[in-house]
């Protein structure tokens, strides 16, 4: 089976058949790259069983999957550092040119390596952190699903592939934040994150589709190839704002920042992985990826730098206010994301390199520090920095890990954090005014984050031990393996700048900058370099703040209480407002008065039938008086008598039967004019309508007769006549146009030879338009189900409460 649509769309279709249609780099590459994104999902399926059988070893076993993916990424280093992007993929919906396609360049490789590398340690850590938890298997499952989504996101080429993975990260994040779903706070945080990031996802989809329309490309690689086109387009601003809104919501940029600290309701491995190292960086990834396509304009520069700067300051300052270790880290994560967005907004070579370096540095130290916070919580039972003291003896390994990461976060020399800060300061030391302002913002933000890094690395471990809920104890190997390795890497990476320049910075920088970037980052302490002075000011400010951390915190608390309003409260107000609005609209439209529903429905029908005909002045001319035989006139007469009886009937039952008579007469007319199928159906429908209407009448306990006030009768009569006139006129218009008979001819020509049926009506129903019929019968089935549910719902409570007395009343009535 070569290229039929079914064979191709049944992705992942990891059989040789798809491999045969190989792309640029050999037949197996498609499968290998697709497997990178899919393997975690397969592992997620198996995770609950592995957890059940392997028990405490489950984390180590499952960590093989991300470790193998990491190794695969390492094998791509060769081609990628030569600036060759690897492209691979499988067809998904070939009719629309939508491919399940992937694209690996420097930027995706850095992200992919971070996701799989840190993911390995996070999975190991989860094994220790949630040891013995009844839902540990489910937790692993969610984590691996998230990992697959995130890998798919950073590797995706086609924008629809990108969007699907983007939304999957939101959904898995929702599941993970709400993992402890018995707590209200966790549920609220999960829903909040889903609404904010999911809403952003919709904006992103709209933006990406607009970009597709502008550039004519539906893949990222295609858009990158036509970089510079979008900026010239008239729709640029809207498309850019939509993409940026999606990225900002995901990366928790001001004013969407409030969901991230709340997301700390999730178990600590989730905070370490999703809400610092990976998922929240998806927005940063997208902005970096889109920089060549959307960047380089004034609007891009100002939006990214201003909002990034506000987020940086907000995150840095609010972090100082917190006492909970995880909350402190969460706010500094906000700050770091703001910093990255700001750097991408600048878009110069130095800024881009600074962003890539800081991205790696931040993932390493923040992931490690979150794990440290979790280990402290695990070992002592609290995360309150005002209570924790003197843990250095009880938790020596954790202390060392915390020191290493805190060192990198503070940006002290030889750590990768230092290199990152130097590079970003270098980008801003041109001396002109907006740069100086942003430099000041960056220095203050970095100082705040440095304080938090030092506080977490030093405060809980130094001083005299204080009582904590548990007696402090060191975590197991699985708990400290991650922090130690990541912490050491954060320091060591700073020593191998040549490797870093060649393998990480130049390729990734080139992807963002859209031009060759020759990274020359070196560990140097040159006092003639203005950047070093920015670092020195940062340290000075940081140490001063560190010294007065408690006073600063109390002062900030008072300010916060003085303001009293938070974005979080604003979110609640907006949500409740939405619910109240929905309630009002529902009350307005769903007032529960059936006769008004019907009146409104038919009035709208009448207007929509008549208004276009009158406005466009296309009323039909009166048809000629029909020439009919006496028996045809007889059928018409019976229909008319039926109608007159309906209107004048004294009892409802008579009216229903009279309506049936009118319907039968119409069926006879159909029969006389040669539409046996139609007339057949009409007979049956009329019969059943009468039966069902009569049954409904007996259920509703209505009065025997239908009394209406004069005004009501005039009102209803007017609407009825208007609808009747509207449909009549519409049919006359249709009959006076020239009918396009091509379909009729096609059906007549093909019905018997191809579809083996002489009854064209039936052949249309079950063959030509079978999919419509399939939809219709599904609706009929659903309607039956709905009516059944409605009647049961009404019948049950009454008969359950007072079966006897109601029956008697019915009889009396």
């Amino acid at each position: 089976m070569p290229t039929d649509s079914f064979g191709q769309s049944c992705f992942p279709g990891l059989d040789d058949e798809i491999g045969d249609r190989g792309t640029r780099l050999g037949p197996d590459l498609d499968v290998v790259v697709a497997l990178i994104a899919l393997a975690p999902f397969i592992a997620a399926l198996l995770a609950p069983w592995i957890t059940r059988f392997a028990g405490p070893m489950a984390g180590w076993i499952l960590a093989i999957v991300p470790a193998a993916i990491f190794a695969t990424f390492l094998s791509f280093i060769g081609p990628v550092s030569d600036l060759t992007a690897i492209q691979a993929g499988l067809d998904w919906i070939p009719a629309y040119g939508i491919r399940f396609s992937f694209f690996i360049d420097g930027l995706s490789l850095v992200f992919g390596a971070l996701i799989s590398g840190i993911g390995t340690f996070i999975i190991i850590y989860s094994g220790g952190y949630l040891a013995g938890h009844p839902h540990q298997g489910r937790f692993f499952s969610y984590m691996l699903m998230f990992m697959g989504s995130m890998l798919g996101l950073v590797l995706a080429d086609n924008i629809f592939t990108l969007f699907v993975f983007w939304e999957l990260t939101s959904i898995t994040s929702f599941l993970l934040i709400g993992f402890d779903h018995s707590r209200q706070a966790a549920r609220r945080a999960a829903i909040q994150a889903l609404i904010v990031t999911g809403g952003g996802g919709l904006a992103l989809l709209a933006g990406l589709i607009m970009l597709t329309l502008i550039t004519g490309q539906n893949s990222l690689s295609g858009m990158l190839a036509s970089a510079g086109v979008a900026q010239q387009s008239g729709a640029y601003l809207v498309a850019m704002l939509l993409v940026v809104a999606g990225a900002f919501a995901k990366s928790a940029q001001f004013p969407f920042h409030f969901w991230l600290p709340n997301a700390m309701e999730a178990p600590t491995p989730v905070s370490a992985y999703l809400h610092s190292a990976t998922m929240v960086k998806a927005g940063v990834y997208l902005l970096a990826r889109m920089n060549p396509v959307l960047g380089g304009t004034q609007a891009w520069f100002w939006i990214l730098t201003v909002f990034g700067g506000i987020t940086l300051l907000l995150g840095g300052v609010l972090a100082l206010r917190q006492t909970d270790l995880k909350q402190k880290l969460a706010y500094t994560t906000l700050g770091s994301l703001g910093l990255l967005v700001m750097l991408i907004g600048f878009g110069t070579k130095e800024a881009v390199l600074g962003a890539v370096l800081y991205l790696c540095a931040h993932s390493l130290f923040k992931g490690a520090l979150f794990m440290v916070a979790g280990t402290i919580d695990h070992g002592t039972g609290t995360r309150d920095i005002t209570v924790l003291r003197g843990l250095r003896e009880a938790m020596p390994v954790t202390f060392i890990a915390a020191l290493l990461s805190g060192f990198s976060m503070a940006g002290f020399p030889i750590a990768i954090g230092f290199l990152a800060k130097e590079e970003m300061y270098l980008a801003l030391t041109s001396g002109v005014w907006p740069d100086l302002l942003f430099l000041a913002v960056m220095v203050v933000g970095n100082a705040c984050m440095m304080v938090v890094g030092l506080l977490i690395a030093l405060r809980p471990f130094l001083g005299e031990p204080r009582p904590t809920p548990h007696v402090p104890h060191e975590g197991s190997v699985s708990l400290f393996a991650g922090p130690v390795v990541l912490g050491v890497l954060g320091i060591v990476a700073g020593l191998f700048t040549d490797w870093l320049n060649r393998v990480v910075l130049s390729p990734a920088g080139a992807s963002i900058y859209d031009g060759a970037v020759d990274a020359q980052v070196h560990l140097a302490f040159d006092l003639l370099n203005p950047a070093i002075w920015a670092s020195i000011v940062t340290w000075a400010l940081g140490i001063a703040l560190f010294w007065h951390a408690d006073n600063v915190r109390l002062a900030l608390r008072r300010v916060g209480e003085g303001i009293g309003w938070t974005f979080d409260a604003g979110f609640d107000a907006a949500m409740f407002g939405l619910i109240r609005f929905g309630d009002r609209v529902t009350r307005l439209l769903h007032h529960g008065r059936l006769e008004l529903y019907l009146l409104l429905f038919f009035a709208v029908l009448a207007v929509s039938l008549l208004a276009p005909l009158i406005v466009s002045n296309s009323l039909p001319s009166l048809p000629d008086w029909p020439v009919l035989t006496f028996y045809e006139w007889g059928a018409v007469l019976i229909a008319a008598i039926g109608l007159i009886t309906v209107v004048g009937a004294r009892s409802r039952l008579t009216a229903i039967v009279a309506l049936g008579i009118q319907g039968f007469a119409v069926a006879v007319i159909f029969m006389l004019f040669g539409a046996p199928d139609l007339s057949f159906t009409q007979f049956m429908v009329e019969t059943l309508s009468v039966i069902i209407l009569a049954l409904v009448m007996t259920r509703l306990h209505l009065g025997k007769a239908d009394h209406r006030e004069l005004e009501a009768a005039i009102r209803d009569g007017t609407v009825a006549i208007a609808v009747g006139a509207g449909i009549t006129i519409l049919l006359l218009v249709v009959l006076q146009t020239d009918l396009d008979l091509s379909l009729t001819e096609l059906f007549q020509a093909t019905s018997t030879p191809i579809a083996h049926g002489r009854n064209i009506v039936n052949v249309i129903l079950v063959d030509y338009r079978a999919i419509d019929t399939l939809g219709e019968i599904s609706v009929v089935m659903a309607a039956g189900l709905a009516i059944l549910a409605l009647i049961r719902h009404r019948a049950k409570p009454e008969s359950a409460k007072k079966p006897r007395s109601t029956r008697r009343k019915e009889k009396a009535a």
Binding site: M1, F680, H756, R758, I777, V780, L788
Partner: protein
């Protein structure tokens, strides 16, 4: 309405209508008829039985809940579509299997299966509505 004559005639009439409904459904492809009309006739037959003998007796006579029949119909129609997929033609393409049996030409096809599905949905859904209105579920 519930006279002795009606009560006596109704079961025979219903049986006749049900048989006729199947006949109408099967001849549908070449003569006036088809699953939809057949289903309506079948539902009318069930409704007549229900009026004469009561909803509870009708439910017992039907053995399965009519909504099950409706659900089965949708499933059958969908299967008719998926059979086409299995032979690598687009969803719902009509497949025919025509052969001689005892001197008569028999034509089996996926549109026939589809039409049987339509019939089951219409009979099932309308009987569900009629029976639910006629008597409460808990009566039997």
């Amino acid at each position: 309405m519930n006279t002795v004559i009606f009560r006596t005639a109704a079961p025979a009439l219903s049986a006749l209508m049900l048989v006729f409904s199947v006949f109408v459904m099967l001849r549908g492809h070449n003569e006036p008829g088809g699953g939809f009309i057949g289903g309506l006739i079948g539902a009318s037959g069930i409704a007549i039985y229900s009026i004469s003998a009561g909803a509870a007796a009708t439910r017992r006579a039907l053995r399965v809940h009519p909504i099950t029949l409706a659900g089965l119909g949708v499933v059958l129609a969908a299967i008719a579509g998926f059979v086409s997929l299995a032979t690598e033609v687009p969803f719902l393409t009509g497949l025919w299997w025509i052969f001689e049996f005892e001197g008569a030409e028999i034509a089996l096809s996926t549109p026939l299966l589809f039409d049987i599905g339509v019939y089951a949905v219409v009979v099932g859904a309308i009987s569900t509505i009629a029976l639910a209105l006629d008597g409460e579920e808990g009566d039997d």
